[in-house]
Symmetry: C2
C-alpha cells in the first residue's frame, strides 16, 4: 500500500473528518475521539486554547525566526544557530498547527503551516535524512553522537508532525517527507544496521504512530526494535549514568520510571504504543507498573515529575523537595501522553486522574495569560523574588524563576502549543457500548459508536471552581448504551443525580433520550492534605487542594509587615472559599536568629494572632509581579 | 629587592625554619605558627596526616600519570588530556608536598617534589605563561574564555604552590617560575591590560600571598585590582547567572557568600588577604558580614556548604536539604582557608568553631581509611545503596555515591592532600602576649613570642571521644603571659580546672612555670539539635551531635527486618555512649502505601516497640560497605 493509498482508506478519511487525534491505537479498552468530535466551550480550557492559537503561535514563529532556527533549514552549515535539537521546535510547532487545523479548519493556520513545511522539507536529503546540525560540510558526521546528538529524537518529532498532518490535512508534502525520513531511519537502524538507540527517546512513539497512519508494519517493527534495544547499555556511561536515558535496565525489567523525566515518559509512551499494536501484554504490564510506582513515589502534588535540576531527572523514591522542584513543563506534557495511552489501553480512571492533576497544576501554570511567556520549571517553593527577563531575551533552560519568552532549549513553548491545540482529545472516549467522560469542562461531544449509533452530549459546568457538572443528552440512539463518568480519587462524597457514588467510574446504562440530563456533583471544597511520611522534605506541613487544583501562598497576599517565611497554617481554622481564593487561618511564628542555625531542641516559637490569608490556585502564581510562594505550609501545632 | 634577596630576609628565613605556614598575613590580631612549631601526636588527626603522606601522595601521583595530566606538561598539544584545569591538580599536589616537607624535612618528599617541579617548569613559556590547555598550535588562544577557561585560576594554584615552596624549601625553581607567572599575570591584567577577572577565583589569595613572600607590592596591587573588579558584570551572563562566579555584585556590597561555593570562599579568602595587607577595614568587614550570614543561613550541620548539585552553589537562605546535599569537599577546604584568615585578622573564636566542625565532619569524612578513595560530595541523607566504583575507574565529578579513586574533575584529593599536610597550622596562634589554642588534639607546641619569649606546651587528650584536655606547660618565660583557650559554642557547662567557664575564649594570664597543667573539660555528651524553623526540609527532625562530631544512622546498624526508612527517634529515651557509638531509642512507624502519596491529614502512623540503635560519627559512614544513611531523624512524637 502506498502512502497515498493508505491516506485514502476509510479509516484515514474518518480521522481527517473527525479532526485527527494525537494517539490512535488499533487496540485497547477505549477509542479516542477526534478533535472535531469534542468542542470546548467557554471555560477554563477554551480560553487557553484560544490564546494558544491567537498569541502563542505568532510568538513561536517570531522566535523561531529571531533565533534563526527556521532559517537553519536553508542556511549554509556554518551559519547554523541553536542547540543540536533546535529543529524539533519547528516540528512541534508544525504538529501544533496540524492539530489546530484539524480542530478549526482555519485557513490562516493552514497558510502558516504550509509556508513552514515548504522551508523544512526543502532541507531533506535525497536519502530521507534531515537534520540541520549534522552531516554537512564542517558539521559532525551523522550518527556519531547517539548519546547527545538527538538525531533520532529530531526524526521522532518530525515524523510525529507528519502523523498529525496525515490525520488532519491528509496526504501532503510533510507526510511524504515523514515517510521518507522513517524509511531512512529503518534503513540505517533496522536489522543489520546500527544496533543502537538515541540518547533521547521520541522516535519510538513516532514510528508506532506512523505505522498506525500508513499501515506499514516496518515502522512498528523498528519502534519495537528501539524499545527492546534500550536498557542493554548500548549507549556510553555518561556523567549522569545510563539511567539518564533509560539505557541502564531493559524496559521490561525496570521497576519505575527513572532518569531524565522527559526521556522516561516519551519512551514509556512509545512502549505502550508498541505493546498495544503487537499485543504484548508483558510490555504493557511493565510500563503500567512503572507508572504506578512513579505516581506513588516520584510525583509532586501538582502531578509534576522530575525533582532534580542537574539532570532534569526523577529522584529516588520520595525525593520530592518542593524547594527547587524542577517539574519541567515538557515532562508533564509527556506524562499526559503516557497516561493517555495507558488510559486508552486499560481504561483505568486513575490515568485520567493524573491527567487532570497535570492539566490544572502544570500545563495551566506554565504559560502567562497572554500566551507569550512560559515557565520551564515549576517549583513548589519560591524563596526569593525572581526577576522577569525582558520580553526579547532568550534565557538559558530553567534559569529564570519567572516566565520567560524563549529559552536556549525552548522545548516547553512548542510542547504546550501542541498540547493546547489537541486538548479536546482528552475529554472523552468511546467503546463498543458508549461514551466515557474523563475531563469535565464546558463542551459538546458528537460521536458515532463503532456500530454506527450516534451520540451527542453537552457538558455544562463551572468546574473546577464549582463541582456541579451537568451532562445533557442531545442525540441518542433508541437502544441502551452506557455513559461512564470518572469520579476522581479525591472526590469522596460525590453524587450522581443526588445519589452517593463511589470513586472511580460511575456507569449509567440505559435507553437515553434527547433532553435527558445527569448531574454529577463533585465535592470541590477545600481540603488539607499531608504527604507520605517518607517525603521528608515536607514533614509537618500540609497543602491545600480544592478539587483537582493545588493552592499556594504568595507573598503578595500577605499583609504588609508580616514575614512571609514566618507563616504557619492553623489547622483549627476552617478554610473558606472567597472570590476564587481560599482563606485560611495563619499565625506568624518567627524563629530567633542565631549565628548557628542548629540549636538544642527547644519549645516551638510562640505564635502570633490569627491572620486570615487567601491562598490561590497554584496555576495563578507569579501573575501579579514577582512574589515568593509556597505550596506546602508548616502547621502551628508542630514544633 | 630580587626574589633571591626577598627569600633571604630574616622573616623569610624564619618561616623556612618554622616549616612554613599556609597563610602569613603581615597584620591582624593573631599570628600563625609554622608547621614545625606544632607537632601532632598520636590521635585523630596525626593518623590521617600520616595516611596522607604514606598513601595519598603515591595515589595522587599514580593518577596524575595514569590520567596523563602530568604528561601534559611535556606532551604535544594534540595529545593533551583532561579538563581545562587539570594542571592545577599537579600544582595542588606540589603545594601539599611543600607543606609536608616543611613539616617533616623528609628527603623522599623532596625528591618526589623536585621530580615533578622540573617537569612542570619546563613547560613555562619565556613570557611566564604556563597552561597546557591554551595558546599552543591547535589550542584555543590565551585568555579567550575567561568565564570557563580557568587560566588565572590555574596560575593561582601555581603561584600558591610557589608560595608554599618559598616558605618551606626557600628559593628554588618553582618559586622563580611562580614569580615569572605572577609578573606575566600583572603585565596582562594590570592597569591598561585586560580589564577583567577569571571565572574561578584563586589568583587573588595567591598573588596576595606571593606579595607576602616577596615583598613585591605589584602582586598585592594586582590582587586588589582583581578583587575590586569582580562584581561589575565583566564576565558573560552564563546559564547559572553571574552570581555563579560572584560577578553579580561587588564584594563590598554583597550581603552573603553566594554562587559556586568553592569560588565564593576562595574569592573571600583573597579579599581578606587584600584587606589585611592594605588596612582596608571596609573590605574586611564586608567579608566578615557575608561569612556570618552564610554560616547562619547557608551552612549544613556538618559545616559543609553548597546545597545545589547543578551549579555546585550555595542555595538561597535556609535552602539546606539533607537529601542530595552537595557539600563539596573542596568547598570545605576553601571554607577552612577563609575562616582561618578571618580568625587571624579578627581573633573571634567562632571562626575556629567552624573550622573544627568542618574538620571533623567534612574533611575527616571524605577520604577512605586507606587514603586512596574520596567523597567528592558529602550528602546528609543517602536513600539508596550506592555502588563502589572499581579502584581503577575515573568517575565524573560527583556522580559516585561512594568514595572513588579519582574524578574527571579531581580537585578534592589534592585539596585534601594540602590540607592534611598543613593541618598543624590550625591548632594554635600567638599574639604579643601569649598563645591561643584553637583546636584540641594531642600535640606539642614550641614557639617564640615576638619579643623573644619562648613557650612550650603539650596538649594531651582523647578529644573528641573524650572531653578532657590537659595542657601542660613545658617551657615558659618567667614573665606573665596569656594562654587563651577556645571554648566551643556548643560547650555549655565547660570547666577549666574545675571552674565553670563561659563559651568563647577563656584566658589565663599569669606567670607560668614548666610543669604547670591546666585541665579543660568540654562536655562532649550526646545532644540532640533541631534546625532553624526556616530550614523546611528538616522540619520535625533532630540530629545527634556529640562535641563537634555529627552522628548519623546507617542501615548497616539497623536490625534485620526493620525498615531503615521507617525509623523515628524517640526523644524520651536518653542517648547513651557505647563503644564509640551513641545508642538511641527508635521506633518503627511505617506509613501505609498509597497509589497517590498525598492524602487527607490523618493521625500519625502507629509506632512499634522501642529499639536500641547505635548512631555513629558521620565521618565514619560508608566504611562498612554500601549503606543508606541519614543525619536528620524524624521524631516519634511528630505526626
Amino acid at each position: 500500500m502506498t502512502i497515498e493509498e493508505a491516506l485514502t482508506t476509510a479509516e484515514s478519511r474518518t480521522w481527517i473528518e473527525r479532526g485527527g487525534t494525537p494517539a490512535a491505537p488499533g487496540n485497547g479498552r477505549l477509542r479516542p475521539l477526534g478533535l472535531r468530535e469534542v468542542t470546548l466551550r467557554d471555560g477554563f480550557w477554551r480560553q487557553r486554547q484560544q490564546t494558544n492559537r491567537a498569541k502563542s503561535f505568532a510568538h513561536i514563529e517570531y522566535w523561531l525566526e529571531k533565533a534563526g532556527w527556521l532559517n537553519n533549514f536553508s542556511a549554509p552549515p556554518e551559519e547554523r544557530s541553536g542547540r543540536e535539537f533546535s529543529d524539533t521546535e519547528v516540528y512541534k510547532f508544525l504538529e501544533a498547527m496540524a492539530w489546530e487545523y484539524g480542530r478549526t479548519r482555519d485557513p490562516a493556520v493552514e497558510q502558516r503551516y504550509r509556508r513552514i513545511v515548504a522551508r523544512v522539507v526543502a532541507a531533506q536529503q535525497p536519502d530521507g535524512y534531515l537534520n540541520t546540525n549534522f552531516g554537512r560540510p564542517g558539521q559532525q558526521p551523522r550518527y556519531t553522537d547517539l548519546e547527545w546528538g538527538h538525531e533520532l529524537y529530531s526524526f521522532g518529532h518530525f515524523i510525529q508532525a507528519g502523523v498529525a498532518a496525515a490525520r488532519t490535512f491528509g496526504d501532503d508534502e510533510l507526510v511524504a517527507a515523514a515517510v521518507r525520513a522513517a524509511d531512512h531511519v529503518c534503513d540505517v537502524f533496522g536489522p543489520g544496521g546500527i544496533a543502537s538507540v538515541c540518547g533521547h527517546a521520541e522516535i519510538e512513539p513516532a514510528l508506532a504512530e506512523l505505522y498506525r497512519v500508513t499501515g506499514n508494519r516496518r515502522y512498528l517493527d523498528q519502534a519495537k526494535l528501539f524499545v527492546n534495544r534500550r536498557g542493554h547499555k548500548t549507549l556510553a556511561d555518561i556523567e549522569f549514568g545510563r539511567a539518564y536515558f533509560q539505557d541502564d535496565v531493559p524496559i521490561r525489567e525496570a521497576t519505575s520510571l527513572r532518569g531524565h523525566a522527559v526521556r522516561a515518559v516519551y519512551l514509556a509512551a512509545g512502549a505502550v504504543d508498541v505493546a498495544v499494536e503487537t499485543g504484548d501484554g508483558e510490555l504493557l504490564g511493565a510500563v503500567a507498573r512503572q507508572w504506578r510506582h512513579a505516581v506513588a513515589r516520584r510525583t509532586y502534588l501538582t502531578g509534576g515529575i522530575g525533582s532534580r535540576h542537574q539532570d532534569e531527572a526523577f529522584g529516588e523514591d520520595f525525593f520530592l523537595p518542593p524547594d527547587r522542584a524542577y517539574s519541567e513543563t515538557c515532562a508533564s506534557v509527556g506524562s499526559v501522553m503516557l497516561a493517555w495511552r495507558l488510559l486508552l489501553a486499560q481504561g483505568d480512571p486513575r490515568y485520567a486522574d493524573l491527567i487532570e492533576r497535570i492539566l490544572f497544576n502544570v500545563i495551566a501554570t506554565s504559560p502567562a495569560d497572554d500566551g507569550t511567556r512560559f515557565f520551564y520549571a515549576n517549583t513548589l517553593h519560591q524563596r526569593v523574588l525572581g526577576t522577569e527577563p525582558s520580553a526579547d531575551t532568550q534565557v538559558p533552560r530553567a534559569a529564570s524563576t519567572l516566565r520567560a519568552s524563549w529559552f536556549e532549549v525552548s522545548c516547553c513553548p512548542t510542547n504546550l502549543a501542541r498540547t493546547f491545540a489537541s486538548l479536546a482529545a482528552y475529554v472523552a472516549t468511546t467503546d463498543d457500548d458508549g461514551v466515557q467522560i474523563h475531563q469535565y469542562t464546558p463542551s459538546s461531544i458528537t460521536t458515532t459508536l463503532p456500530d454506527g449509533r450516534e451520540i451527542g452530549l453537552e457538558i455544562d459546568t463551572e468546574y473546577p471552581a464549582d463541582g456541579r457538572i451537568t451532562i445533557r443528552v442531545v442525540t441518542s440512539p433508541d437502544t441502551p448504551w452506557t455513559l461512564s463518568l470518572r469520579v476522581p480519587d479525591w472526590a469522596a462524597g460525590a453524587t450522581l443525580d443526588g445519589l452517593a457514588i463511589t470513586r472511580g467510574l460511575v456507569q449509567s446504562r440505559r435507553r437515553f433520550t434527547a433532553g435527558d440530563t445527569l448531574v454529577l456533583q463533585l465535592p470541590v471544597r477545600p481540603r488539607l492534605v499531608a504527604a507520605d511520611d517518607r517525603i521528608d522534605s515536607v514533614r509537618g506541613q500540609v497543602a491545600l487542594v480544592r478539587g483537582p487544583v493545588v493552592y499556594c501562598l504568595e507573598s503578595v497576599d500577605v499583609p504588609r509587615g508580616v514575614d512571609f517565611g514566618s507563616l504557619r497554617l492553623d489547622p483549627h481554622t476552617e478554610p473558606v472559599d472567597r472570590d476564587g481564593a481560599v482563606v485560611v487561618g495563619c499565625r506568624s511564628a518567627t524563629p530567633a536568629d542565631h549565628d548557628w542555625p542548629y540549636q538544642p531542641v527547644a519549645a516551638a516559637p510562640g505564635t502570633g494572632p490569627l491572620l486570615k490569608i487567601p491562598l490561590r490556585p497554584y496555576h495563578r502564581w507569579a501573575r501579579r509581579g514577582p512574589s515568593t510562594m509556597r505550596v506546602w505550609m508548616p502547621l502551628t501545632s508542630e514544633r
